[in-house]
């Protein structure tokens, strides 16, 4: 039994399938994500595939600040990914909204909508940093059991929501 568990955990680490979603990014971080796939960085040697379908994917890589319109799409895609899954927010925008945080249409980062596992800062993030982020996410993903480990994430989400609800109080300019 333990052998099969270890085999499953090893396979999860060795075969992470990404889906990349752009939530209003300037495409700087997207280009860096794409650069990871090129022969210079070659993430396929880690088994990473950029699969375009959330139903096949393990890791959701999100760039860009999120706005109300594509927040619904982001939530939809996150829901369509089967467990166990992980979310990586790339770039300053994805982490916290970056320089656009106070804008009227910006929600201010991915974690306002879905629970995030790894934040990769940078503007844009370097490919090496992105790969490091994926490795960290894999560590979290490795032992995650479908359905059983989503409670803490949901609690995080609630905190994030409350932070967002109160953003007008923190707004500097109107």
């Amino acid at each position: 039994m333990g052998f099969f568990q270890d085999l499953l955990h090893t396979s999860r680490v060795k075969s992470p399938w990404l889906i990349h979603f752009d939530c209003g990014s300037c495409n700087g971080c997207d280009i860096e994500v794409l650069a990871c796939l090129t022969p210079v960085y070659d993430v396929e040697r880690f088994g990473i595939l950029n699969i375009g379908n959330p139903k096949h994917a393990d890791i959701l890589v999100v760039t860009g600040t999120v706005n109300p319109r594509n927040a619904k799409a982001l939530k939809n895609i996150y829901d369509q990914m089967p467990d166990p899954k992980a979310v990586i927010a790339i770039g300053a925008c994805g982490t916290s909204g970056g320089v656009f945080r106070e804008a009227y249409n910006v929600l201010g980062g991915v974690d306002k909508v879905i629970p995030v596992d790894v934040y990769v800062p940078g503007c844009p993030s370097k490919p090496e940093a992105i790969i490091d982020g994926v490795v960290l996410a894999l560590e979290k993903l490795k032992k995650r059991r479908p359905e059983k480990d989503t409670e803490p994430l949901v609690a995080d989400l609630k905190k994030a929501r409350e932070f967002y609800e109160n953003r007008e109080d923190r707004q500097v300019t109107r």
């Binding site: 396979s11 075969s15 399938w17 040697r45 096949h56 369509q80």
Partner: protein, 286 residues
């Protein structure tokens, strides 16, 4: 059905997916080498499948699950029948059970990608099926039987009598292996385009089952290729290695073409090559 046959069948059923997975891994490694990078380890397909088996099942429709299992069972049955040295044409028809149910599973979901992918998969089936039947008829011409035990008993390698028909078989092989320029349905490389059509609505364990069934299919079609040089082991290995290498090279140098081009080109060239080969055979026998 003696003990030797039964043990051979069980061995075939157990080893076929392992061989198929290794071949898929070698494929990815070689492709990466052509593209100037390292590529994943050879055992990568097994990691993929095991990871998928450990994911939560998610379906749109329970009919999808039924179809996936029928596809797997039909593919396993084909390999078992081949190991039992049954009739080639019957094995072909049993293979169509799996192929049709894969399409039906994709058609069962109201998703634009899977509907489109299913129709393209049907066109793919339409393209290679007549060719496979023609190849089997050609083998019958040379060896006088459709049964595999009679074919294996033929003294000379069939490849020497039917070289052009082997080319026709490689067309069917390219389509079955989902390689360019004939990968109009669920291509290996372009995951994003048409979102891999037939496979869109499958996830987790069902995607793993589809992959394993595909491995069985790879082994079956390569086994049919191996019939063309069944007289010596070295010849067989060389033939299969050269064929597979050629498939990978062609995959990497050609783009994906339209289905209209594929249908007309494959039928025209395939049927002409077969008739030419048959004419050569008739001429030789005079």
């Amino acid at each position: 059905m003696d003990f030797k046959t039964i043990s051979f069948v069980i061995l075939a059923i157990i080893l076929a997916p392992l061989a198929g997975g290794l071949l898929a891994g070698i494929d990815r490694r070689l492709t990466a080498w052509f593209q100037g990078r390292f590529g994943p380890p050879i055992l990568q397909p097994f990691y993929d499948v095991i990871k998928l088996l450990g994911k939560e099942p998610q379906v749109v429709n329970y009919w999808q699950i039924f179809c996936v299992h029928i596809y797997l069972i039909a593919s396993i049955l084909c390999v078992a029948l081949f190991a039992m040295q049954a009739d080639l044409l019957m094995i072909f028809f049993v293979m169509t059970i799996g192929a049709v149910f894969m399409v039906v599973g994709a058609l069962a979901t109201p998703s634009p990608y899977s509907q489109l992918g299913a129709q393209r998969e049907l066109i793919q089936m339409l393209t290679y099926e007549p060719l496979l039947i023609i190849v089997f008829v050609g083998i019958y011409f040379v060896t006088g039987s459709f049964k595999i035990d009679d074919i294996l008993a033929y003294e000379r390698p069939i490849f020497l009598a039917l070289p052009l028909l082997y080319l026709v078989l490689t067309f069917a092989l390219t389509i079955k292996l989902r390689k360019s320029p004939f990968d109009i349905s669920a291509s290996h490389h372009a995951h994003q385009e048409l979102v891999r059509g037939v496979l869109t609505e499958y996830s987790g364990p069902y995607l793993a089952i589809l992959e394993i069934a595909h491995w069985y299919d790879i082994v079956l079609i390569l086994a049919i290729c191996s019939l063309f040089w069944s007289t010596s082991w070295i010849g067989l290995v060389i033939l299969l290695a050269v064929t597979y290498m050629a498939e990978i090279i062609i995959d990497n140098v050609t783009p994906r073409m339209t289905w209209k081009w594929m249908l007309t080109y494959v039928w025209a060239v395939g049927i002409s090559l077969s008739f030419f080969n048959m004419a050569l055979l008739y001429a030789k026998s005079f």
